[in-house]
Each structure stands twice: as structure tokens, then as C-alpha cells.
């Protein structure tokens, strides 16, 4: 890839542990924003960003609507809203129907990010028990972006990355310990 402009990470059951292991090893000067979309229960809003920000020197924040994406910042999708990326590289939120029984749906963020960043996007799908994110990864691939999954053998719940491997041309299946070095390499 020429130059990565954004990384989106999607996950469900079993993905939090992975994030907690990956974040401490990320470079402190990533040249792109990282957007995290994980399924979680509505109501426990500020807990996840707080939990994650304890693990990295990068700024971690829950997305505010219409906020511009800034390099070196880790954005967490708010619970109970879909998270979309606009052409002008700002976020918007959407309270429409659930997709794959999920809101936020990983598919929605992957797809809108692909339309904005095209071949300068990397998307990583982690552990989880449903197939949310699989269609999104397909779109990412169609636009020439990098498709990444957690190696299903290392996932607490292999179904989600395994479904992606089954239906999408995946560029790399990463072990947990290889994720941070890989992401740092994407950074210039």
C-alpha cells in the first residue's frame, strides 16, 4: 500500500482482550487515525474508551458526531449508534435499524470507510460470534484496501474471522502479537 490513511478495527465477543494486548505496543506517532468498532451493551458508554486509554499514549476518545478524523488518535464507536465516515473525513452517527443484529455494525463503518479511503484503508476483523464485518471487508477489498483478520486459531471466538476468511480474499491473518508491529509498519 502506498500510504495508509486510516485503520478500522472491528470486533465482537473475545475482541477486548486482543485490543488490550495490541494497544500498548502501537507506535506513539501513528500517521493515521484508528477507529474501533466493537459490539457492546448499550449503557456502559464511557467505560470502553477509559479502559483502552489506560493502555496507550495515543489519545483515545469516543466519537463525537461531525468530528474530523485526526491522525494518531484512536476513536471508539459509541454504543447504540452506527458510525459512518463522510467524504470530508468527518464522522457521522446514525440510529437506523440494526445490521447483523448489531448497532454499531462493523459492516457500516468498513463500507463507508472504504468509499472514502479506497486503497489507502486497512481494516482488521477480530474475534467474534457473528458475521458482522464480513460484507464490509468485501467492500474494502473491492476498493483495493488491505483486508486483515485475527488468525482464527488465536481467536477466543473464531467464527467472525473464519467467516471472513471463507468469503473474502484476506491479505493477512495476524496473530495477536503480530498485530501491533504490522500496524506500526503501515504508519510512515
Amino acid at each position: 500500500m502506498e500510504k495508509c490513511k486510516a485503520l478500522v478495527i472491528g470486533g465482537s465477543a473475545g475482541s477486548l482482550d486482543v485490543l488490550l494486548k495490541v494497544l500498548p505496543n502501537l507506535s506513539n506517532s501513528l500517521s493515521f487515525p484508528v477507529i474501533i468498532v466493537v459490539h457492546r451493551k448499550h449503557g456502559a458508554d464511557s467505560l470502553l474508551p477509559d479502559l483502552l486509554s489506560g493502555k496507550t499514549k495515543l489519545v483515545v476518545k469516543e466519537v463525537d458526531e461531525k468530528e474530523p478524523l485526526v491522525a494518531g488518535t484512536i476513536y471508539v464507536a459509541p454504543s447504540d449508534y452506527h458510525l459512518l465516515i463522510e467524504q470530508d473525513q468527518t464522522f457521522s452517527l446514525d440510529y437506523s435499524e440494526k445490521v447483523n443484529y448489531s448497532r454499531p455494525a462493523i459492516d457500516v463503518t468498513f463500507q463507508t470507510a472504504a468509499e472514502v479511503y479506497g486503497d489507502k484503508l486497512a481494516c482488521l476483523l477480530l474475534s467474534g460470534s457473528n458475521a458482522d464485518g464480513v460484507n464490509g471487508l468485501k467492500t474494502v477489498k473491492d476498493y483495493g484496501g488491505i483486508t486483515l483478520i485475527q488468525d482464527p486459531l488465536t481467536a477466543q471466538v473464531a467464527y467472525m474471522p473464519a467467516q471472513a476468511a471463507l468469503h473474502v480474499d484476506i491479505d493477512y491473518a495476524l496473530k495477536i502479537e503480530d498485530m501491533a508491529p504490522f500496524i506500526n509498519l503501515l504508519s510512515e
Partner: protein
């Protein structure tokens, strides 16, 4: 080569939106682009449109389909007592203050299928304020208002709504407010006597009254910054001094030109007009 790419481009969405404005006077041009594109694409696929040209022709020339288009590209997902903490604050802090007024006028803007209007009615009734209240529930979409006016919601939702109701400080038996009818829960007629359902388009219509409480939750997220500002001005014009404005959990007055006139209540997205 790119087989699965979306069949409608940003430019085509723009074309449809200017058609709507030109032929029907509905202005969606200030809506957030990614969201509206997703809605348009969803409908395009749902209705198995043959081509963009045919899709466009049908929207312009077929009144019934135009209605469907507007209904489908706007988001009409809502629930009763959504965000129970918010309704608890209304019940315990906001409404008791407004209860000292001789008459309470409430505007629920973007009421969709009416779940929040009925939630509001229930709280007002329990606070013994319903008799002197009037809830103006408005939406741009006539079809959802017809549904709202029926006061019938899916019975399968009642377990969730009942939990929300209790978490919001309700102490009655929630099922005492409705009668089960097949797969529907029909809410008591009494609850809707004080609700006026009416069309109002936040983009193009003006202020139509003065209110002590305006609720508009999860509507502004679909608007771009300019339109948000315009609508907030409309609310400001329509709100009495010391009145309250309530927005969705991810929406804010911060950084807008009206912000300095308002003071936020702790924890919830409710602001009081203080000057």
C-alpha cells in the same frame, strides 16, 4: 472489474435530492451525505430497482412511491423511554419545575412513530400534569404520523419498554397502559388526548408556537453543521425563557451560536434557556 461496488454514486444521490426539492419542496440537501447515501442505496436494493434512470423517474412521477422514498430515506427507528436516565431526569427535575406553570406546552420534533410522545404522556399523567399539558408531536413524514396517531406498537417490544419504563422511575404496572390486540399493544385513548400530531419540516417550516420544553433527540445527527445551526436557532426562537431543550445522547449545543444562552443540566443532554 469491481463487481460489488455500490450502484449509486454520490453525484446520483445529489441528483435525487435536487429532484425532491424541485418537484416536492422537500429539502434533504443539508443532510449528512454518508447516511443518506446508505439509506438511498438500501431502498434501491430493497425495491430491486432496474436502473438509476427508472428509480429516478418513479420518484418524480409516482406520488405513492415518492412517499415511500421519503419514509425510507429518513430514519424512523425509535422506542419508548429510550435512555431511561434521560426520562428519569425529565420526571424528577424538569417536569416538576414546569408543573408550577398554569399550562405546559411541549414540542416533540421528529417524533417519528410516536413512542416518545406516548412515553411523555405517561409521565405527565403520573405527575398529575397531563390535564394542563399539550404535546405537539411533529415529523416531516405524514405516514409515520398516521401510525403514531393510532397509538399501537408491537407487543413484542413491550418487555423492553416495560424495563425502560421502570428504569426511568415508573412505578406502575406498565401493562396497565395498553390492551393487547393480536400482535399489537394499543395504548389508552386518554394518553393521546393531549397529543397533537402534525407535519412540520425542520428544514423549511417556521416556528409555530412558544414552548416550555422542546425535545428533539437523534434528529440533528442526520444534519450537517449548517443545518444543525439553523434548526437550533428555530428551537431557540420557539423556546420561552427558562424553558428546556433536550437533545440526543450524542448531540450537543456546544460550539453553536445559541450556546451562551443555555445552561446544561448535569449528566443529561438537557439545556435550560437562562437568558
Amino acid at each position: 472489474m469491481l463487481l460489488d461496488l455500490p450502484v449509486i454514486s454520490e453525484e446520483q444521490v445529489e441528483i435525487l435530492l435536487s429532484d425532491l426539492l424541485e418537484h416536492y419542496g422537500y429539502d434533504f440537501t443539508g443532510y449528512s451525505k454518508a447516511s443518506i447515501k446508505r439509506r438511498v442505496l438500501r431502498l434501491y436494493m430493497l425495491d430491486k430497482a432496474v436502473s438509476f434512470a427508472e428509480f429516478r423517474f418513479k420518484i418524480i412521477n409516482d406520488q405513492v412511491y415518492f412517499k415511500r422514498f421519503v419514509e425510507q430515506i429518513t430514519v424512523n427507528v425509535t422506542e419508548m423511554f429510550r435512555d431511561p436516565g434521560f426520562f428519569k431526569t425529565l420526571r424528577n427535575e424538569v417536569l416538576p419545575k414546569l408543573g408550577t406553570y398554569p399550562f405546559i406546552r411541549i414540542w416533540l420534533a421528529g417524533c417519528s412513530t410516536g413512542e416518545e410522545a406516548f412515553s411523555m404522556s405517561i409521565i405527565l399523567k403520573e405527575l398529575n400534569l397531563l390535564h394542563k399539558s399539550l404535546i405537539y408531536a411533529t415529523d416531516l413524514n405524514p405516514t409515520v404520523l398516521e401510525k403514531a396517531a393510532q397509538g399501537m406498537f408491537s407487543l413484542s417490544q413491550m418487555k423492553q419498554y416495560s424495563e425502560n419504563y421502570i428504569l426511568s422511575g415508573g412505578t406502575k404496572d406498565f401493562s396497565s397502559y395498553y390492551t393487547a390486540k393480536y400482535s399489537l399493544a394499543k395504548f389508552d385513548e386518554e394518553l393521546k388526548h393531549k397529543i397533537i400530531f402534525s407535519t412540520h419540516n425542520l428544514v423549511s417550516d417556521h416556528s409555530f408556537n412558544e414552548f416550555q420544553l422542546i425535545l428533539c433527540r437523534n434528529v440533528l445527527i442526520y444534519f450537517d453543521r449548517d443545518l444543525q445551526q439553523k434548526v437550533l436557532n428555530l428551537f431557540d426562537e420557539s423556546l420561552e425563557d427558562l424553558g428546556y431543550l433536550a437533545l440526543g445522547t450524542k448531540e450537543t449545543l456546544d460550539f453553536t451560536s445559541v450556546a451562551k444562552k443555555y445552561k446544561r443540566l448535569p449528566l443529561e443532554k438537557i439545556w435550560r434557556k437562562v437568558s
